[in-house]
Symmetry: C2
Subunit: 210 residues, 2 copies
């Protein structure tokens, strides 16, 4: 079955504070079929960030040239800075058979699906809203106001859940990583992601019938 | 997560000779979340078959009464005998949280989906058409004519594959059983099969925002 394996583009969304980042890092660390997509941005690198790792840091001119050349799968402008997903890296990894993971919010996720109809959309949820609140508070770094803002934002994000292929409940990290991997393995077995295999089978069967 | 588990109705189709029966038996034997649906028929029991195990054997009158009472999920008439899926047994098992497995061909599968929109449709395929031919020949019990008929029938059945949620490649039995179980676990994590959980999360989040 290895020979018919093509990479899937996986879009991960979910409430702020739910633990998406840790989950994705652990997934990439635990299995060898994943590649993390690296975004391009015009914002300045923060201390400790390096080009090509957290982001590709580019000038406004380079970013706008990349847009003009249709080199981004999606992009957005937050607080005066551009953020986007370079297409070339993603396509290269998919061709190699890697499943490429991309963290992005709902609007971006839907844009990705337009260009990659077989993209897999995963939405990470806490086991309960109470648990999400606890996790946000537990960080100890945020004011009550910021926590309230994030919970309100979660309410808005929750509106789009039905657009996703699967929900992923992040209760215990290790279990959740396994579950997420299982969902991605399953996604490889849909007919639309095996069209070549199915078409070949049909041709072979028709030849027998002759 | 156990508390939000509801059973899924699983429809298994696939080419004759591909090993669906063995696969389903092994699945039910290996995991405790499955129940096999038992069909109702008006045909006579064969030696060794017993009522309620291979089939519910009933008279034509009882079968037609069951149709009239809307007691069947689907039914068909083959060679003058009725075959159908009793609704009550399936619904009881689903309520208990069991995933109910049903072997049926494409027309029946599509009828099931009309009544159970969250039914999961699996299509079992051989690793290659050549392998299917080999398995049919390997039985040693069929004439060349019968084998040709089955291969022709497979060509027709292959037309409907895109209607299924997942394809299942039956190469090595044990691996295939695990893979099939994985697909069913994944299916439990779609938004439409977790609507209650999602709605509750939304309500909880909205309450925080007040």
């Amino acid at each position: 079955m290895k020979m018919r394996r093509k990479g899937i583009l996986i879009v991960v969304s979910g409430f702020s504070g739910v633990g998406k980042g840790t989950l994705m890092k652990q997934l990439v660390h635990s299995y060898d079929n994943y590649a993390l997509s690296v975004s391009m941005t015009t914002r300045q690198p923060r201390p400790g960030e390096s080009d090509g790792k957290e982001y590709f840091f580019v000038s406004r001119e380079v970013f706008e040239k990349t847009i003009a050349e249709n080199g981004l799968i999606e992009y957005a402008n937050y607080c005066g800075n551009y953020y986007g997903t370079p297409k070339e890296y993603v396509e290269k990894q998919l061709e190699k058979g890697k499943d490429v993971i991309l963290e992005i919010e709902i609007q971006g996720a839907l844009k990705v699906r337009e260009q990659f109809p077989t993209a897999l959309l995963l939405f990470v949820m806490p086991p309960s809203a109470q648990e999400l609140k606890k996790r946000l508070e537990g960080r100890g770094t945020e004011t009550e106001e910021v926590i309230d803002k994030r919970l309100k934002r979660a309410t808005e994000e929750a509106e789009g859940i039905e657009n996703y292929d699967f929900i992923v409940i992040n209760d215990k990290l290790e279990e959740c990583v396994k579950e997420m991997h299982g969902l991605i393995l399953a996604a490889h077995e849909t007919p639309d992601r095996n069209q070549e295999f199915i078409d070949n089978m049909r041709k072979e069967l028709e030849n027998f019938a002759k």
